[in-house]
């Protein structure tokens, strides 16, 4: 049998996602006031970042907004050293980069974001970190450029 054939196909598909009632409020606060907001469950009082309309544990509405952070604690972290195709850009994601899960002061959950450190020996769980906000903010999660270790 001759060599099996492969048919290549390159797709460029545009998407646009609604930030929603909760996300819009969060990103407006972030863009206009550099504030990170959480929304609390009306029953168990967990403060959620990302915000959400309903608490999955209580199935009760989340209604009360509170400011959290801006500082927080690094819970888990990594430094990515292996590159891959980034579906956000269609290109290889630049490496190395640090990222981790940050428990913002007052929040019940941990936010995934970049950590401004690529030497993993300088990172450990429990470190205090603070956000670096972008100068020109657009109303999305990248308005926080990264989190930086509080020295």
């Amino acid at each position: 049998m001759k060599k099996p054939l492969t048919i290549a196909y390159r797709a460029v598909l545009p998407f646009q996602y609604s930030a929603g009632r909760m996300g819009s409020r969060f990103f407006n606060e972030l863009r206009e006031n550099k504030r990170i907001m959480a929304v609390k469950c009306s029953k168990c009082a967990r403060a959620y970042v990302p915000p959400r309309p309903v608490c999955g544990y209580c199935y009760a509405p989340c209604e009360q907004w509170v400011e959290v952070g801006p500082e927080g604690e690094l819970i888990g972290y990594t430094v990515v050293t292996f590159s891959f195709l980034d579906p956000l850009t269609g290109r290889e994601r630049p490496v190395p980069y640090g990222y981790g899960y940050i428990q913002l002061d007052g929040a019940a959950t941990r936010l995934l974001h970049f950590i401004d450190e690529t030497d993993y020996s300088k990172l450990r769980p429990g470190l205090r970190v603070r956000p670096v906000f972008k100068e020109k903010r657009e109303g999305n999660i990248a308005d926080i450029e990264c989190f930086r270790i509080v020295s």
Binding site: T78, V80, A142
Partner: protein, 390 residues
């Protein structure tokens, strides 16, 4: 699930799988599914006209295609039959297996086939995984499975004092097991030193700590008690099937690798199956370990050791092929990972151990109770317990 209610007795009476590879260039998706289905029917000594329904699934995004249940309908055998597609990410294969079990246990169907498949080289694995996360909140920094498990492992190491050597031992154990499995994708004769010297993907996860991206398919057939008697004298009975989902964002859970979903699923499943001392009563485990680190932690969620003592367990050799509780005699996910089939392979391999069909990968003892797990989503777990008799 309703306590004390079992439904009809159901057993796995056949399994089939492809010889998994990085790339199966000589087969398209339909042809690959056909191989697994054909082998499964042969194993059960059944023909397609004896199958009442067909369930099929893969993890979407990877190949960039969606309606495989439609265009692979002839090879799957679903043409003109009951059936549906089930896709739940990494746990697709256990979701399909459980759904087949529920179909038959309900009394509405006598014999049902489930098929899981993936052909990873046809798309971009990490891009596919990123596309499965929330587009607004998590895609920016998320680096697929190796990034997630890197971040989870740093927390886990600090909490319980586990080391990179512990993880490397798991990577070696499963790869050495995989060498005895003719269907395994990776057959690597490696040492702990090889693992610790392999390239870092995302600290502390190295290349040899991570599962491969594979192509392959798996199929299983479930039958009701009345039919089982006519099909085989070596059935693998389903004693329990439990699923647990966790919160929507990766950072929602407090202790990433603690896998509270598996801990909770195991508690319910053991109660249903009458297991009181998991280490003594479970003969073999096929655990869904996407990374070496996961086996170290998920095993304590199953109650095989105390919390955080997965490292000691591997140090003592308990989970080796000839240990008290062998984990992944097939080589596990670290050797073979066609995602939509991966969790079903855990169920199929557990059934193979019960049925004594493992050949060189058969554990060296009588297997009466086998556990298979599925993992996916954000820290989701599935768990099935199979027994040689009910």
């Amino acid at each position: 699930m309703k306590e004390g209610v079992m439904g009809r007795k159901v057993a796995i009476v056949g399994t089939g799988q492809t010889h998994h590879k990085a790339r199966q260039a000589d087969m398209n998706i339909t042809e690959m599914i056909h191989v697994a289905v054909k082998r499964c029917l042969e194993d059960a000594e059944l023909t397609m006209d004896q199958i009442d329904g067909v369930l099929i699934g893969n993890m979407e995004h990877f190949e960039g295609i969606n309606l495989s249940d439609m265009w692979a309908v002839d090879a799957s055998g679903a043409l003109g039959r009951y059936g549906m597609k089930i896709t739940t990410g990494g746990s697709t294969g256990t979701s399909l297996s459980m759904a087949a079990y529920y179909h038959v246990a309900s009394g509405l169907f006598d014999i049902v086939m489930a098929i899981g498949w993936q052909k990873q080289s046809e798309g971009e694995t990490t891009a596919g995984l990123i596309s499965a996360t929330d587009p607004i909140w998590e895609r920016l920094g998320f680096a697929g499975a190796f990034g997630t498990f890197g971040a989870a492992a740093t927390q886990f190491m600090k909490e319980y004092g586990l080391t990179e050597e512990h993880a490397a031992k798991v990577a070696v154990k499963n790869r050495q097991n995989g060498r005895r499995n003719p269907y395994a994708h990776l057959k690597l004769d490696i040492t702990v030193e090889d693992v610790l010297k392999s390239p870092m993907l995302a600290y502390p996860v190295r290349m040899l700590d991570m599962c491969p991206a594979s192509e392959g398919a798996c199929a299983i057939i479930m039958a009701c008690e009345e039919k089982v008697k006519k099909i085989t004298d070596r059935p693998a009975w389903v004693a329990a099937a439990v699923t647990r989902h966790d919160a929507p964002f990766i950072g929602d859970v407090p202790m990433f690798m603690d896998l509270r979903t598996l801990r909770s699923a195991a508690k319910e499943a053991y109660a249903r199956a009458g297991i009181y001392n998991p280490l003594k009563e479970i003969d073999v485990i096929e655990l869904y370990e996407p990374v070496s680190w996961a086996e170290l932690s998920f095993i304590d969620a199953l109650g095989i050791c105390e919390r955080g003592e997965g490292g000691k367990l591997i140090d003592k050799g308990i989970t080796y092929m000839d240990g008290e509780c062998p984990v992944n005699p097939s080589g596990g996910v670290l050797c073979t990972n066609p995602i939509g089939a991966t969790a079903m392979l855990r169920v199929a391999e557990a059934a193979i151990q019960i049925r004594g069909q493992g050949g060189e990968r058969q554990v060296p003892k009588k297997v009466n109770t086998a556990v298979a797990t599925g993992y996916g989503g954000n820290w989701w777990s599935d768990l099935m317990i199979l027994k040689s008799s009910l």
